[in-house]
């Protein structure tokens, strides 16, 4: 074996565990606002991911234990589960996770080789195939028209039955971004839309706290040097600049940048999705371009596309560009700087 004969004791598992840890505040916020069903979604996605990871590793002839221990399958499952509506039916969760693990990850060569973010591939497949189920977000408990307890939530998730006399519409609502889009189509002014009960101080009621929790987790990852500042900074800057420009130009039809930061997948995207090292560029300049492009696209798809949020598609589109970005942003080597 060649030198060096010393290594640091860090490991891939440690990195993944810290990212999982950083997701805990957001999970807690989700549970607080949308009920314990979130935990069921998470567990179901985790179990599916781990089982399929094992099966795929066996099929591909790879050692199972070290790869299961790396935590990457669990992370994919959690990120996807947090993007699915809290009371989504069980098959939705299983299908999405299966797609992420089997197709987006292992068929492309497994850990380290997948060109697309597996969680976002899973999400994109679900939102294209099951748009109805994917847009029925449970309304925060405080504004829902009727209240649903945990047992009833489970009944709905696994057997698709609701308590006697309860309508699904009374439990769910469109997301803040979705609402904004449909109401603008109805020619309502922004100020009127934003006074609807689903909106909170800056984003969606409840959702803005979840976004805050992602931000907190992201700051922890920055402090731990798991992620670099380039990606979140450029992504947030791109959203602010694009949303800000549209807002300044036409405030009646374009929400302020604050809403775009606090709503949708902005924060999870900035700190947890785009920062996936496998599917992102490695050069500092490349990271800035990648994240800025993703932010710009997120805004465009979000506002002008037909889907409730654009982050997933923006990430996948930018994933395609990564080899190109890396090739053209190679930093100068020692002694060859201009």
């Amino acid at each position: 074996m060649s030198s060096p004969h010393l290594t640091q004791t860090n490991s891939v598992s440690e990195i993944m565990l810290k990212v999982l840890l950083a997701l805990v505040p957001a999970i807690a916020a989700n549970v607080w606002f949308f009920g314990p069903a979130v935990l069921v979604t998470l567990s179901l996605a985790s179990v599916t991911a781990l089982v399929l990871e094992t099966v795929m590793l066996k099929l591909r002839g790879r050692p199972v234990v070290p790869f299961l221990m790396d935590g990457s399958a669990l992370l994919t499952a959690w990120l996807l589960a947090l993007s699915i509506p809290p009371m989504g039916p069980w098959w939705l969760i299983v299908t999405g996770t299966a797609f992420a693990i089997v197709i987006a990850k292992h068929l492309y060569g497994g850990l380290g080789s997948n060109p697309f973010n597996p969680a976002m591939v899973g999400y994109a497949v679900l939102i294209i195939s099951f748009p109805v189920q994917m847009t029925q977000w449970l309304a925060p408990a405080s504004i829902a028209l009727s209240h649903i307890d945990f047992a009833a939530q489970l009944d709905y998730m696994f057997f698709h039955v609701l308590p006697q006399g309860m309508q699904l519409d009374a439990l769910t609502s469109a997301t803040p971004l979705d609402t904004l889009k449909t109401q603008l189509h109805l020619d309502k002014p922004i100020s009127a839309i934003l006074s609807l009960p689903i909106y909170g101080e800056v984003g969606g009621k409840g959702g803005e706290w979840v976004a805050g929790a992602y931000l907190a987790g992201g700051l922890y990852l920055l402090q731990q040097r798991i992620i670099s500042w380039h990606v979140p900074a450029a992504f947030i800057a791109a959203i602010c600049l694009t949303a800000g420009a549209f807002h300044l130009f036409d405030p009646a039809h374009h929400a302020s940048p604050w809403l775009h930061l606090a709503a949708g997948a902005t924060m999870i995207g900035a700190f947890f999705i785009l920062t996936d090292p496998v599917t992102g560029p490695t050069t500092p300049k490349g990271k800035l371009i990648f994240a800025f492009g993703a932010g710009f696209l997120t805004y465009l798809i979000r506002v002008y596309g037909s889907y409730p949020d654009g982050a997933a598609f923006a990430v996948l589109l930018m994933n395609i560009c990564v080899p190109l970005i890396d090739a053209y942003t190679q930093p100068p080597v020692f002694g060859k700087k201009k």
Binding site: S3, P4, H5, G112, V278, P331, F334, G335, K337
Partner: protein, 484 residues
Amino acid sequence: MKLLHRFNGGIHPPQHKTESTRLPILSAPIPEKLVIPLHQHIGTSAKPLVAAGDAVLKGQMIGKAEGYVSSSVHAPTSGKITAIGYEPAPHPSGLRDLCITLEPDGLDAWIERHPLDYLNMDPSSLRNRLRDAGVVGLGGAVFPSFIKLNPGSGKKIKTLVLNGAECEPYITCDDMLMRERADEIIAGAKIMRFMLHAEEVLIGIEDNKPEAIAAMRAALKEAPFEVIPVPTIYPGGGAKQLIRVLTGIEVPAGERSTDLGVQCFNVATALSVYRAIAHGEPVLSRIVTITGAVNKPRNYEALIGTPIDVLIRLAAPVKDSDGAIMGGPMMGFELPSTCVPLVKATNCIIVKSATLFPPAPQPMPCIRCGKCAESCPADLQPQELYWFSKAGNFGKAQEYALFDCIECGCCSYVCPSHIPLVQFYRYAKSEIWAQEREKKASDLARIRHELRVDRMEREKREKAERLAQKSAQARTQMNSEEET
């Protein structure tokens, strides 16, 4: 206070230096047998000057420098040459190399020495002396020093850098040398400055060696010599990194630092320059740190050719010791056997044990986290180099500046997937060198074959012409005969 520069990357591995600095340098006894390799430097092997059975004196040249980039080899003590042959060499391959075996007679009798008064000599004869004295870089690279002391015509050397940084963990030979023999180091630096006409001499020492810094400061009184403590960071003692820190100049790969007005030498090299010029003594011994899994880690002054297992026994290895590393833990290599001789490049021997160097964790796939690029002092993208090297795409690896890699090992050290990155680069480099060798050989064969084909055609043509001439002559003769 001089304004220091910094280089990107670098790491802070555990130091393990105090273990071997508690005791002063000790002279290792003359062993029963010395095995002196003829190739202890960069360049061509020295040519043996003695035969088996010859009696030699201490300091007698037994291998002569061959070609320009080469250096001489000397008998480290007096005795009898018992063999010239291929012996196991201290090299990662474990292959044998041409060595001279010397059986000491115990008298340690010197050959006649000729000190030089350097101030009244021209640099070129001083360089010849250094070449004949076998002076090479003792920091580990063992490049013949006389070449580096030849700036070339019209080149101006502004700064002479003395490297006392010693950034690698465990190694303390330069530290102890500076503490104990600062005067001689400074004397050597003066000779080098004289040879290069350097304006200033900057002595860079990492700030984890306060005793060495104090000793060196005490030894030098006058300008333009200056001892500069530099921050402790690995690989801050790499020549390019130290030049960058002290002067701000970045020396690109493939370029000579002399072209940029800087030259850099190890402190131990300065000392051997002094011994060679002022005392007429060639390089016969060096300071080596014996540390790691031993009970008595310390620095020894040992004769070149001393078997390494003899030195390890002096340091009393612990029970579970197993094998040894030559050099530091970051750039050294595991000795295939400890029954190999100490050479000019041997600055440190780290005795291994499972507790000190546990087996490397199983590698995982690269997740492109970029920690390696952050730590790379050459500003490379190690993850890309790894990818291309692994795929055998050597052309692309060269495009991504594979040969700018200094193999410092920072990338492998920080890699969370524990990929043996440096080994991939070494593999790629040696494959590329092999391809170039083959290309050269096949080009030569093509030219020789073409020349042969041309020659044969010419011979055939000439033969045909001669035949035609002969038959024409015969015909004219016949015709004339018929006519008559």
